[in-house]
Symmetry: C2
């Protein structure tokens, strides 16, 4: 029969992290619950939507928690409802007491709230993971490479493998993140300081989003463990499990053109180019093929969109550097906007082969660690 008292804010912080894994729209009703395990060492909150699971431990030694555990035990409570109730409690701390089997009373000031729960035996068991030889990496580093690539993940369920982020470690130290929806691709490569075992996996895009909101401290070093169908990111208090996308990711290396193929090389100010594309997009949305046309001649670069019904855009863009042949190429301006959004450097180098071949973007400060690719649209 659980009995503890705790600081409301500290408890809510943990509850809200765990709730990231809980969806009210799940087929299995018990997954809308949060599992509360109280031991002599502290409180573990567990949430899961079947794809992502989060275990979050709050130690009784945590100074902010002001935790006093009188009796241990476990219970399942409706997660959203429980969170609303705790959020609205009047005082800075509250008592949590199981008064009969699977029924608890929360007391805070003059407020007394009784909640009916379920037996923890009804909760699915989390799949065990081997926890040896972790890959160690800072949360902020992973978040950066996720941001630089995950936007290009496909939203089409017709090829499920492309709805995930392809993450690999090769030569025990080359970490690579790739995403493509077959219209554009983004690839980020980095060399890790420490050697680890190679891996090759596809992370669902939803897990990537959850990861970012669960691990908020960028300096926090995570231990990462793998099994055939699951990955576990863990720090001192949080275990974040996610299932992987099954299947083999297509070979994306072959999509990147070789240096010799490029016929035109342009350098732009990222912010200027992005604003031009923002304006082009407004008009291109009103056209049938939704494209902007770039016309490159020796003395200028012109972006145009022409919608017979709505109007047209005609805009000269001044490149910071230019060398190569003339070109006329059409593409979806949204893809270029998305690509420019994730470039932190002020300048971008864009290289073209022809009007029908994909073009590539790299930050000018970079070599080939971060390369993006956009496929043009054929227009007549």
């Amino acid at each position: 029969m659980i009995n503890f008292s705790i600081n409301k804010t500290a408890f809510l912080n943990n509850l809200r992290i765990t709730k990231q894994a809980i969806s009210s729209k799940v087929a299995i009703p018990t997954l809308s619950k949060i599992k509360i395990d109280v031991s002599n060492e502290g409180i573990t909150l567990t949430g899961s939507n079947g794809q992502i699971s989060i275990e979050n431990f709050l130690s009784k030694n945590d100074e902010n928690a002001g935790m006093l555990i009188t009796e241990s035990g476990s219970i399942l409570l409706e997660a959203s409802f429980f969170e609303s109730i705790v959020t609205n409690l009047p005082e800075v701390s509250f008592d949590f007491k199981e008064i009969e089997q699977n029924q608890v009373v929360l007391t805070s000031g003059q407020s007394e709230i009784t909640l009916k729960g379920l037996d923890v035996e009804m909760y699915p068991r989390l799949q065990e993971m081997p926890t040896e030889n972790p890959l160690k990496i800072k949360a902020g580093v992973l978040k950066d490479i996720f941001s630089e690539t995950a936007f290009a993940v496909s939203t089409q369920e017709s090829r499920p493998i492309l709805t995930g982020l392809h993450l690999t470690l090769t030569d025990n130290k080359i970490l690579k993140s790739v995403a493509t929806d077959s219209h554009r691709m983004s690839q980020r490569v980095m060399t890790l300081d420490k050697l680890s075992e190679d891996f090759d996996l596809v992370l669902p895009n939803k897990s990537v989003s959850s990861f970012k909101s669960v691990f908020t401290d960028d300096d926090n070093e995570l231990d990462i463990f793998f099994s055939s169908n699951q990955i576990l990111f863990r720090n001192e208090t949080i275990s974040f499990y996610t299932r992987l996308v099954e299947g083999n990711y297509p070979d994306t290396n072959r999509l990147i053109p070789s240096e010799a193929d490029y016929t035109l090389n342009l350098t732009f100010d990222v912010s200027n180019l992005r604003h031009t594309m923002d304006r082009a997009k407004l008009l291109s949305n009103a056209t049938t093929n939704g494209t902007v046309k770039l016309t490159v001649t020796a003395d200028k670069v012109i972006a145009t969109v022409n919608s017979p019904e709505v109007g047209s855009v005609h805009e000269e863009i001044t490149p910071l550097a230019q060398n190569g042949e003339d070109l006329m190429i059409s593409f979806n301006p949204q893809y270029l906007i998305d690509a420019l959004k994730v470039i932190k450097e002020p300048e971008v180098r864009i290289r073209f082969i022809s009007s029908v071949r994909p073009f590539t973007l790299v930050p000018t400060s970079d070599t080939l660690d971060f390369v993006q690719l956009i496929t043009p649209v054929r227009t007549n």
Copy 2:
């Protein structure tokens, strides 16, 4: 053939105010347009959704506008699209030039955007209003009385008259605003400094919301004009027209109990009572009748909710003052929350007659200028 140049921010400010009247979901396609009239004195932007119309004048003498008018004229442009385009222009100012009939070019920096428009003859004419002997009142005063009452307006179309705010002037100076959805009522009365002609009208709730976002300066004195089916609020630059709800508003004065009927008188801290109701609501949402029960005895006031499935709330509330008989009464806690939200004073006086008669709320600092009424729910 219109031709002017203008500061982008100043133009956008006016455009956004006018756009409040424009809805993309209107049956008449021309109403998704904005009407631009350029005269030698300045630019008038007009928008309308058939119910609300806004005319907004930007004078060429406005210092912030940096306006230079070369040629006058009129055109209709697609409002949302035009706003997006102007928002995304690169420089602080832009040129607006009609190049052929109903076709304009916006030029800003190296960006040149051509837009197709329509002839202003296609735009519906705004109904003329008599503009003599205005009622004069500050925008902030109207916004206050609207906020204190409009939340109680009915959202049910079954009695259209109750979907509006009843606004009257009697004795040439007593301004009254009333709303009721037949479960609760809010009534605000104030005495104006200047005498005006009496009126009795019902303002649609949507117009009340738009009013608040159009007239942002609370100190701005407005001129108000009436016709049988329309009201016009006007300052130096903005004319805000709205159609009225047709029909006779029910007599709400008879709903307010007479002093002699009250049997119980309680004074509460507004914030404490509201938080108790917030918690009660979480549980009451899970019950069939959605109510909280207040049990008042000589020595305490208890709020309880009991949901057989989910749990229960039991909370003692300490009144600041209490006199009268014991009582047990049930009601929808949301109505009490809404009522407390609009009380700016720290304390509220609630007076009861019996468990089946409406109870009233007044701020303790007030007499009867601001009274709210909530109908209880009979439970067995």
